[in-house]
Subunit: 511 residues, 4 copies
């Protein structure tokens, strides 16, 4: 069936076992029925439906290189430069429509990372992870499942390695190896969309050492596995999302996402779902493969969000007739340039990647981390503009119900009427709420700062991928410290003008 | 009685006539009993109590130059450089404790502006506004009333003057002049704390022309005057504020504020409460006097908020044991420097002011607007740091109830425990919520962008106060376009090294 | 001969007629012999030589689509996405080696712009400019000439159109039309490398109106045409460049560039060299085609300069053993990320272009102007880091002669010795001088601010290319102002995820 | 005589012994006759003359608290809040006229630091440094000498302490103690104005340990002491400064400064000139006292430079008739606000200082370092604006001689004529050169990045002075981690609203 519709997806979700989800003291067993999760459900169902939409289909459906059959872009590893570029474009486009996370990205990134990783592991170690992974993946493609990646451990004391923590469970680990599988224990935080995924794929959050090999684990777990618990994270808007039709207006938009803490309490995972178990020396490589795609996407999807926010700012400005004023135009231009800058970094990360022996396409890590770095800074900066242009009114607007259906409605409609012909007070409220949602209420502004890793993590990774020694050598030749002119030619020409970036980082160091 | 306690204040508020306040479709007649306004009530009662606190008393109590008796700093116009400096210090200190608006500042700024303004009007026009104003003010001082300033009109089409708007009520105006008083109509937005003020003082939001003289109006109106309506603005946290003990934890702090839209539906104001009526040529001067103090305060109070957020960030960083890491220390330092920069601008605006003929002390406008300008930009920039350092966890934290009193509590307490000795999971949640409150949930982040006017307004006002022609002349002398060396001496020496700033702006142009 | 060597190039330059060049009151007739232009000569000769270098050849030599023969990349219009990407890579790579302008870029951009422009003109107007242009171009390719673009007029009063200036010559114009050609008058400023070009191509600096059609002119002029005068612009280092061996060390690097004011005093240009004459309605299109390539390059070459400066900063930091300190690594990372950001914008501008009917490849204007916008800001920001890391010493370093060959040499060598093993005091001086050259002394820092147009010009152009109406519509759908969900699909899908950018701007408006 | 005129000063300088100064391989024995130092000489003579100028006198002349007689502000330690404020105002005002360093500041800061320091040392150690210092100071006041502070050592390997360097002379030290004095060896770099000072005062550049007590030395040395050598640092404009009348125009302004490396080759200093010798435990205190004043000044003088540059930018903008354009006004406003921000920080550092037991006034260190921090960043940022607004032309302007007196003059004057009535082409060139001088050619832009210490040094010092623990405690009270409400009162009230800053840092730790 390869491509579910939104309705089919919903049915598949409702068919899950009762789950152990908590929100404000209440236990939720089926997230699809909970009002605080309705925007999330709208999001994921829409994404499934878009796979059948005549105009989106071409963007979202690809041919599986495993089966030759159609499958969703999110269930296929990146296999070419074009795939990588399409990932950027889809991430941006969906964010422009949804203004939130799509949930399916992280899983697709885990898939793109594990595909070449298992290939390399098998080649080096004689294991059969790659076949096992492909088999699992074909099922995912066939059933068009939503997969999320479970990466970020709770980490405890950030200065200590996993194996040196007071509580050894601060990073998820293998607590028992059996013949037929493994038992895992630990928690993962910041799990965007996890309640609406069919499965999550465990990925280690950091490079592990031999001493900490129990933490070198990757496996796929159905989201409704008994023993897995979830605590939904709060957002400033969570109660507003549970409201009636007027609060729906006050949310600002139909689509949304959620983030949860995921806890695995000694969960058994059968071998056919295990893709790494104690091969600690391959953890850096897995992180490289995964983050190269993950951070490419982080730039692209923030680009789309910034575009949507730019459009919202234009509507806001026009509502008070300042859309053509010089400083507003300057700010709109800067917002638009910000969107393109993030887009360009992500697109280029795809363009400047390389073909891995397994057939997978690995984006350029330096550009991917640069994309992520800018994506943690630039969106926050332009958020100031939209809030400035709403100039107070946007943040002190009365409730939709007060505006539309209360004893003060008439007065409010008079005084808060927009200056734009044909625009109603309700319209004005709606666009202010959209801006409020993205700038403050929803996860968007949070993810625009640290979704996919924070500034310093991205900076550090980018630093590691820079070829500073080569740049230093270029400087030495330029200023005459080194008088070997040929050296510059050598340094430059070996990459034929391509970006300077050291693929040796993708070699696994021998034990 | 001159200085009420919190309890006395509460009694005075409860003694008001029933009011017409709306929030989420519900009519509120006594704001002191509404849960969404509880943090506001805590704030204002605390400020009254601090006037009796042995350690704060010295900061908050001054001697009235009108009566010679003690009165609250907020009911006295600035009469000296020391008063202005004290205003900066109090604003910063209270913000460091409250992390929100104090409500009483804007009123004190209107008082500081109207005092010299009415003096100048009387002198030029032969009116008796100054005596009238002093009489009103003595009553305010005597009863220790909280006054708010009602400045910001709804403005309609921002490109049109008040008198050219399609709906003439887009700016508050005098619709009828009677022998015993005036009738006013219009609305004011972004009214911080207005529900807990005893009176509000109308101040024009912009300079008016002769054609628009009906909009040149200033008067004092009791907040419970029949015919005045209020619509409370929403905040992302408003529902959380209405919650039980667990939501109280999720709010992040005890104190808070509120903003409302205030609507005057043909309100009669008796002459003794009217301080300007149609004297349009004095509106620029009133705005100058008012904003000089208002924007001085805007810098000071953001300074205090930034300090509190810096402290919160330190607690956050220590909770995961990264407080001493190099890049965290750099960011904490930058946050602290930001607080001092805003403080310095406000303090200097007070120091570099001048003594008005009426006896009032007028802060330096250029520095005050510069303070405001930086206060619309710098706090937003450092908000990114606190959110970055919470690195996701802070924004996906489960509800307090889930952590403390639910079926998943035990697991959450294990996994979300801080790394710091003696700190509990609840402690960790509390400080994350404090940061979330200031960065996203409450009005603080909104006011840190446009409280007291937005970036461009401050930039424009600062531009007007710069003596660019004099600076250009200095440049011409420096580069030899003008070879009159003495000129530089003249330019510099006339101000004896003081800040260059043109007091002519405080002259009223003849009709 | 298609590809000259450096020596052949020099011969061709020396064969020119005596020119009318002025520098510090001195007339120069052959720039190739002047010491202040030696770094420029090194640059251009090296670029010719690199076309024969086994490792650079592949980057710099392309097959002419006109003749099928090899020609230099700089003499061929962009005909494909790959050409555009190669332009970015070459621009970056050469900047990494040279740390200055290459001189040949602007000409290649004029070629890339005039190729499709003349095609469109002919199609619309029935003229034969395209054939004429191709003929001229084949000669350029055959002789491997260096062409520069003469764009920027002196402009007089910036608020007046060319035809309204007091002196009508403030923009270059056609003063006479003859049967066999035209006579032009006017001046062009900021002419980088013009003294070492064989010809310059006049391009209008702005869109012209019908009234100002005399200013709508494009033509090719040999640089040694009698009546053309040049005044070399000063740089802070110009006298240092005229020095002996020690000043050569103090320059900081071997390569450099120059900028000149070019004055055409009633120059006759025969018809076969005229590519536009009074077709004012095509001036916007010419500017679009030209700037799309020109600003793509501006991002790429600044990227290379930033890389070289990053390398220099690394050498500086290591010389005092701070290269591994946390805040230095952070800054190096940010410098490297800056280089990649500019690179990504340029690369993407090429990737996201479109195929013009003439066969030319037109880069994406929005991305190209975004690249330029960031290129006017980001390099200046990181220049602060290199100067900060040199921490004073770099800017107060004594002359090379003092260090190496004077009565104080011994002492200086002792006290200014670097802390790095194997590095000499002279080495340390050299790298400081390289940084000083790029940050202050040479044209690099100037071009990093406005080379190819200033910030506001780039911002304005980017603004024009943004599809703000579409973004506003997306926002309206997202927040429910417009409830036509299909609209979003339409808006997004029509571009299949590609960057939003309105090609209608490339239509010429009917007269 | 207490207050020399410029001529008297020049005579005093010419009366010095021949010195050992090197510049570009040439030995200079009397700097007052060297063309490259002419702008420096103009500066210092003008400063002496201003002490007699009827309009500046009041700013520059103070009453000595030691003698009761008039003396120059630069020879008197800060003794009151007013003194500190005056220091800020004078520093700003002179920078607005000169656009460069005054040379006399650092000495006055050493005086302000050594005055309380010697007092504290005597009190703790029973030494008589304070009397000795006062005696020396009275002579300085009496003779109106220019003193410079020699602080910055060459430092060798930045990661090693002085006593662990391979070459022990990398920090200046006492190599011999005799009965009648000490012998010192070492070098100091970045010595601004040192060639025109009568004496320099050695101050340690960092806190010393007991092991490195030989480096804990402070003493006064006449600048013409035999055995002291100087190497003048190059600037991009140094050769231009040696030129004729046309190059003088190309310098851009009359005043300038210089920086030199100063080398002490076993210099004997008699006891009466020694103010610290091996008292290593007092080095942190000396640095605190010195930098509190030094960095206060750094903010103030950059403020003045930014003002002058703002004026220059206004003249530039008007010359092409864009002075009133929206984005230009925005940028001018931001430049002006930058100047006020730096001024406010410096002024406040003086206002918020404290009275030392010796009678000296110590500025607030936190604010002083904050001033310095911003002064290393903000001026660089606005330099981009002036260069952007000159939009290329300013950086490619031909030489003054070409414009005014050459075969191309007529043409250049036509094409480079300004658009402003009454402004000549020469005027336009002059103001462009002024901007070029400050932005690139002279030491100004260098000092605007690291004059008085670099960004990280200021950040670190500010960090040390922040009371982060108290801020953390405030946050804990605010969010309820600590429920002791009184604590907040205690924390705030103990400083009565004054800036939070820990004076304990000024206590010397017991050995």
């Amino acid at each position: 069936m390869a491509l579910m519709t939104g309705e089919e997806y919903l049915k598949s979700i409702k068919a899950r076992k009762p789950m152990d989800i908590w929100f404000r003291g209440e236990k939720i067993t089926d997230p699809s029925g909970h009002p605080a999760l309705k925007p999330s459900l709208e999001t994921i169902m829409t994404i499934y439906d878009l796979g059948h939409h005549p105009k989106f289909r071409e963007m979202l459906v690809v041919k599986s290189h495993l089966t030759g059959k159609e499958c969703n872009l999110y269930t296929s590893p990146l296999m070419s430069r074009e795939d990588a570029m399409q990932k950027t474009r889809v991430a941006r486009s969906l964010a422009e429509v949804l203004g939130c996370c799509t949930f399916r990205c992280t899983g697709s990134e885990a898939i793109s990372g594990l595909y070449p990783l298992t290939y390399d592991m098998d080649k080096a170690l004689g294991t059969d992870y790659h076949e096992r992974f492909k088999k699992w993946l074909m099922n995912v493609q066939e059933k068009d499942l939503t997969i999320t990646a479970a990466l970020t451990d709770v980490k405890g004391d950030r200065k200590l390695k996993p194996e040196h923590q007071k509580d050894k469970d601060m990073y998820l680990r293998v607590v028992e190896k059996r013949d037929d599988g493994i038992v895992i224990r630990g928690a993962k935080i910041n799990q965007t969309g996890v309640l609406f995924g069919h499965e999550f794929v465990i990925v280690p959050t950091a490079a592990m050492t031999e001493e900490g090999k129990a933490y070198a684990v990757s496996c796929a777990v159905p989201a409704d596995t008994p023993g897995v618990s979830y605590a939904l994270g709060r957002t400033p808007f969570d109660q507003r999302m549970m409201g009636d039709e007027y609060d729906n207006i006050d949310i600002g938009k139909k689509y949304g996402d959620h983030q949860a803490t995921l806890i695995c309490d000694d969960i058994f995972v059968p071998n056919e779902r295990v893709f790494m178990c104690e091969e600690w020396e391959f953890t850096p490589l897995l992180i490289e493969f995964f983050t190269a795609v993950h951070r490419l996407t982080a730039g692209a999807c923030k680009s789309g969000g910034v575009s949507l926010l730019t459009g919202a700012t234009k509507v806001v400005a026009d509502s008070i007739n300042v859309g053509k004023i010089s400083h507003i135009r300057s700010k709109l231009a800067e917002m638009g340039i910000t969107a393109e800058t993030l887009y360009a970094l992500s697109l280029s990360a795809g363009v400047e990647g390389f073909k891995h022996e397994s057939g997978a396409w690995i984006p350029n890590s330096l550009l991917a981390h640069a994309a992520k770095y800018q994506a943690t800074i630039m969106p926050h900066n332009i958020v100031r503009y939209v809030r400035e242009i709403m100039s107070g009114t946007g943040e002190t607007f009365p409730a939709a119900r007060d505006l539309l259906d209360s004893g003060i409605s008439e007065k409010l409609r008079k005084y808060l009427a927009p200056a734009k012909e044909g625009m109603t007070p309700e319209d004005r409220l709606r666009v202010y709420r959209l801006a409020e949602n993205m700038a403050r209420g929803s996860n968007w502004s949070a993810m625009a700062i640290h979704g996919g890793g924070n500034t310093e993590a991205a900076r550090l990774m980018a630093y590691r991928h820079m070829n500073l020694d080569k740049l230093a050598k270029l400087a030495e030749v330029a200023c005459g410290i080194d008088d070997n002119d040929e050296l510059a030619a050598d340094l430059i020409s070996e990459r034929h003008g391509k970006i300077d970036w050291d693929p040796k980082i993708f070699k696994v160091k021998a034990k």
